[in-house]
Symmetry: D2
Subunit: 465 residues, 4 copies
């Protein structure tokens, strides 16, 4: 019944990349969808990369005609909004695990997810709107987003604050009559300069004096054409403008939105933020793995490129490069296991319980991915850094994800602090070992004076400092 029993299938890309336990969980309809996504990316996206680049070059801040066409075509084929979780009636009902497989494939080309309306930040925004907005808000904003009529951005980072700790967000929201008035500066968020960008979901501080720091912030729906909202300039990432979406530096100068534009209610931003980021991080990470596969294939191509034979040998005949291929292959596959397990854990236990595995992906994948792509670039020698391959853009994306949603140190601190909470239980287990050890010494008649002089690695209870 299930397609994964089909041995022939399991030998084909992309299925041959999945471990058996994953193959066995892919339902027939998912297998079918994965195949269609794969064909879509292989035939419609990867070969079109240079066309897309040429069209964007011509009209820097306008969505390319090719993108419009591909989106129309993908939608017609049902390759649209496939990321949507079950609670949407439009959802194809993929599990996180199944969608993760799709996301990896989409990752192979930077903009492939967008052709299927499955790109960041739209996916996170749509989930947020679906979960927390009123019906009226949904009608106005969610429906056209799902329809692909316009695009949206998420606006949290600030230039003057350490917003990786979101309690520092300080863009000021004040109530004035039936309006909210916004003043402050923001970074990132997609570029206003693209005329399809219609909506910013803004996190700001509405009640700075609230003794409960988790209730000081509010989220608002801000139309991009609001008076007083200006995009100062494009924010580049390692020099790339990432047009026509890109990032921006924004000034909110007495921007007014009607009070109906508040999401969930004043002071409830953290309730909303909590639920937003999990799945998106997994999508980012799976796309990065797709990018790694892409980079890896380019390295493999170079290994036996007859035009490139230093000292009379293919570079793939140098065993140092053979070791590099092996190391990359092993690491990519290990990363995939980490992310697929995170997706599956979210399926099994929910996003909240998945916090640790999401962090695991978020921390391990971008750093290792950047290292892998860097190795691929180096194997291309002088050409590796040029536009002759997509490697520099792939590297930049991996490097970017290391700082997106907070630098990895912030995530590591969270994991490490959680681990420290296990100290006391661990100490108790070791105390039990020590008790039993003392008992055994008596039984075996070992001089007990030992215990007094030896240093014991079971520490006493740690008083609160």
């Amino acid at each position: 019944m299930a397609s994964y029993n089909n041995a022939q299938l399991a030998d084909q890309i992309p299925f041959n990349r999945y471990p058996p336990w994953v193959l066995s969980k892919l339902r027939p309809q998912a297998v079918d969808l994965i195949q269609r996504v794969y064909r879509w990316v292989e035939t419609e996206c990867i070969p079109a990369e240079q066309i897309m680049k040429a069209q964007v070059a011509e009209n820097r801040w306008k969505t390319a005609p090719l993108m419009h066409e591909l989106r129309k075509k993908a939608k017609a084929q049902g390759l649209w909004n496939i990321f949507l979780p079950n609670h949407f009636k439009e959802s194809p009902g993929l599990t996180n695990l199944e969608y993760a497989c799709c996301a990896e494939i989409m990752g192979q080309t930077y903009w492939a997810a967008q052709t299927m309306n499955c790109h960041a930040p739209e996916t996170g925004n749509m989930e947020l709107l679906a979960k927390y907005c009123t019906d009226a808000q949904k009608e106005k904003w969610l429906r056209p987003l799902m329809n692909g009529d316009f695009s949206s951005a998420y606006s949290m980072t600030e230039p003057d604050k350490a917003t990786s700790d979101a309690t520092n967000v300080s863009c000021r929201i004040t109530r004035d009559g039936d309006d909210y008035v916004i003043n402050g500066r923001k970074l990132y968020g997609n570029a206003l300069w693209n005329e399809e960008m219609k909506l910013y979901i803004l996190m700001g501080c509405s009640d700075p004096g609230n003794p409960d720091v988790w209730k000081r912030h509010t989220m608002l729906l801000v139309p991009s054409n609001s008076k007083g909202l200006t995009m100062r300039r494009n924010l580049t990432i390692m020099g790339y403008d990432h047009a026509p979406e890109g990032h921006g530096e924004y000034t909110y100068n007495n921007v007014r939105v009607p009070k109906e534009n508040v999401i969930l209610g004043e002071g409830r931003a953290f309730e909303i933020a909590q639920g937003r980021l999990g799945p998106g991080r997994i999508h980012h990470c799976m796309r990065l793995i797709g990018q790694c596969e892409r980079a890896y294939e380019l390295a493999l191509l170079r290994c036996k490129d007859p035009r490139k034979q230093p000292r009379g040998k293919y570079i793939g005949q140098f065993d140092s490069n053979i070791e590099r291929l092996a190391t990359m292959r092993l690491e990519i596959d290990a990363l995939r296991l980490v992310v697929l397990n995170a997706a599956d854990t979210m399926d099994a236990k929910g996003n909240k319980a998945g916090r640790y595995v999401i962090a695991q992906s978020k921390i391990l994948v971008p750093e290792t991915a950047a290292k892998i792509v860097d190795t691929c670039m180096q194997m291309y020698a002088g050409q590796g850094l040029t536009q002759h391959t997509p490697l520099p853009e792939i590297w930049t994306y991996a490097r970017f994800v290391r700082v997106a949603d907070g630098p990895d140190a912030a995530h590591r601190h969270q994991v490490g602090r959680d681990q420290l909470k296990l100290h006391e239980a661990t100490r108790k287990r070791h105390e039990a070992y020590a008790d039993k050890a003392r008992e055994l010494r008596k039984i075996w008649d070992l001089e007990t004076s030992d215990g007094e002089l030896d240093w014991e690695y079971v520490p006493p209870v740690a008083p609160k400092l």
Copy 2:
């Protein structure tokens, strides 16, 4: 029905270490066995470490009385030979995945596996004997090994040859009447000095001139008390003698064994060797993960040891150590995913198809494990390298596994060479991209002269060098 639905269980060690997909595959009897192994190691092994050390110190090359007692006790409880695959009638029938969970637990104490007769090299040897020996051979050697009456070793490495490439094995086997006569030198293999060591499974070269290199070698059963077989001295590992089993340097000086002692037949050593190492590598790796968990717990203990407060703070209050904890936690869990997936893949596809995932474990786990344990040692500062904790022995074990069964570079080369075989298929896929790209240029009316000048990253077909 299945125990893993029991939420309470899933929150307890060791089950809380397993990902959901693994929990869902553990059958009730396996869950029960894992729990019993866990209790066994926690209460009978870890607390007894110093007793074991003291007894071995007294009588360096004799199995400790405590070991004898624990083996008797474990056997009585049915914690015996549990590694055995299904084809043994004594097998408890664990899958590779289920047994891997047990192996991790055993790993926490160096010798715990031995209390259950599940230690290397016995496990590999028993499988080999079961698979390739005649009934008479089995009766004489396999039965007592399974019964725990004596122990055995595997003898392949040589001091004068690069035996990581086993075709180089040159210890000479010649037929003389009804005997085989052996001459040569071997390294490793457990120590003859321990009187319970009764059997060496020797790989030697019986037909050096055979044009088929895979048919030059033969395996023999060599009783340890054979005349002419001497152990020159103990071979230390980073200074550890690893008594009372340890390793040895051997001389075979006209050692004679009856022709009945040949396994499978002359020239068939490679047929046998092929099947031997897979599961053993997974066991090694899972035990290493158990050791990492042990080392990690010691690091965690140190983090809030009130006796150790440089500059007035627990070392766990320094965020550099918080980051170290996080990094180690994430890496241990990622390694576990790799090995559990390897075990599961072997369950799904067999040992042979599992070659890649076994190599993945073999290459990634020991290196990372050694690094993790090194970090733990460093967190103990001046005490970290002393016998105050088991950390130096744990590190040494991890380091040892990096060279056991061949250095990791040899395994990487194998993986890398296999990867290079994908070159041509990959190249063809890229050629298809290029064809499609040319088509698209026409459609979108992009000046085709571009194509002529741009460097194409699809290389031409690589002629065989």
Copy 3:
């Protein structure tokens, strides 16, 4: 007498960065020049970075008015061509060591060297022209370059060959009457689009069938306005166009230059190439160290930026960042020792004998520098990759130097192959140890049978494979 005895001086930037042995070698006139270069970069270059960027943005492939002005001003102050070695009459007579100190300072801003006519590739080109050209060639090309009237490029890399092994250069040069005719494609070399670019020094293959591979190649002086020479497009480096100099993709389509434009003579390219690269690599490396210092200062600034306080602390109060600062400081200073020693070795023994130390700098500096700058970027979190700091450009420069003049693996191979030549001498020394050891065993009456059985780590003589 000498300024370096002035303790006050030794405490000031940049002198406090130099070790005592370097300070003691800086002659008073060099100290004076270093100070002037330092003030120049501090007051005229670093603060002008954004102006330069704005002017280039306006007129992408034209040298900025500010650059023209600064060059005029620097020249007037005698801060011009200071890289020139002693054999030039215009040379200020700096040693390699002294100039290396200047180069570090210039490195702090990408284009500062250019204001002093000390930038790559001009410096290498001028040395080449001075060393190998006829008086007529010098008059025509060297004089205006030294005067700063136009600029030049070096053209060797090709898209279709592994030109890191320069014997692969295949751009075809044929003699036709009184002309050389050139056909082929080249990468890199500064952009033809900048109208001040007047001269390419081209390496091509004039005699592909010559049995002596070192005599197949020729160097030509190629005016940039030669008919048939076209720049296809700008070659980007990690997305940066590096305008207005930048790099290019070139086509030589029956380009003709008069036979007078040959340098040194047909087939003598390797004689010329040999001497060219040494000092330039040291300059690159010292500039990179200046860039590291710049990046480091930015990291230091961030550490106590009161606007950025995640969890209520400066990021410099997290001890993980304190460790990062320390690690970077130690590594930058170690790299500086490596490069200054290379410069000093070239002073003492000449460029040729300095081959190893030049390779040491070339291999160690760019890789570590890129890692250091990456750490600085990460300390800036979300802003670290944007144009808010010069860090992304600094990182890109360091990354670029890792592939410029061949990828570091090529240089490592050269060093490693040279090392292998020491095998036999080393083996002999160990044989002498073994002889002496045997003697000692007799004297101390140690059972000599040991020697027979032990594995000896002195290998026999290695036959040529």
Copy 4:
């Protein structure tokens, strides 16, 4: 005049390892001494390693007869106490730089320094006694130490405290009549079990309540045969007992020493400790570099060992190993530059001003050295961890130095905290850049509104948190 002008000399080991600036600073008498030390180690120490091991094996805690003989012989040749600084009349007057060259040579064999009475901890102890003791104390303890009549140890580390922060030392010293009474536990310090060990220089806490933490501690001369002083057991380092000197666990149980045994006076331990460690750290580091050279030579031997040819090639024909050789060579030479520069800086500016360069050596050398030796071990595959080569002992020494005198994190923190002090000066320099930049904008008529919106990377003054 000076030998270093002799080109032939500069091509010989060990002189060919030194950079020109070092060669030029070696005075003829130092060159002569270095040559003699080199010959001594080459002919008397390295070949005798196995004899030494055998003798120690026979009589574990007794100085070997060979050691006695070698010390007598070395002393007769004037290779004795050569580490002594100028202020000793017995000093050969070597600079730190010159002695560092000797120390590297000694490092090649673990115990070679001891044959010349130049080993740790004697060297540090003798300097301490010479600097801070009364004439009577010197007569009793320093003279015989210098004469080599007995040995001494330094006793500071404690099992129950974080003594890497020495203010935590808590071994209790109380005054009772004309005696000091000592109670507490100590770790490390050489083993009492060796009968030549006569003196412990003990740091303890005599005034725990003193508000000035730097005046709470006292140093005492404690004869090893003091009543109440017991060595509980040998403290192993990665399993090595390091007999016959080794380390110990000590109990001080009402140990009494006469008040004459106080060094410098009560409460003055920190005055003494300050000056002790600098040169010793440099010696350790240079010896480590000698060990790296030794390990490297072994790796080089293996590279063309005809007995070891996996897949039919010397391992030195695999270019991955060629790259490994190169990387190790480059790193060893870079480390040497770091330590030689530290020694030279101490010569130029004194030990105190050398604090940073000493820390630089202490942090960078052991970690990198351990990594290098690990690579060498791995190149020996299965034999690399055994006693077939000295590599495991070399690795262990390097690893040990990473925790000796405090773990490297402690040293990094010190360097990092010092760096943070430069924040404000750096900030001011950047403020000056910004002022100048604003000026330039006016001159070049750049829209000044930019400044208001751009994020400025010059942070405001950081208030004290």
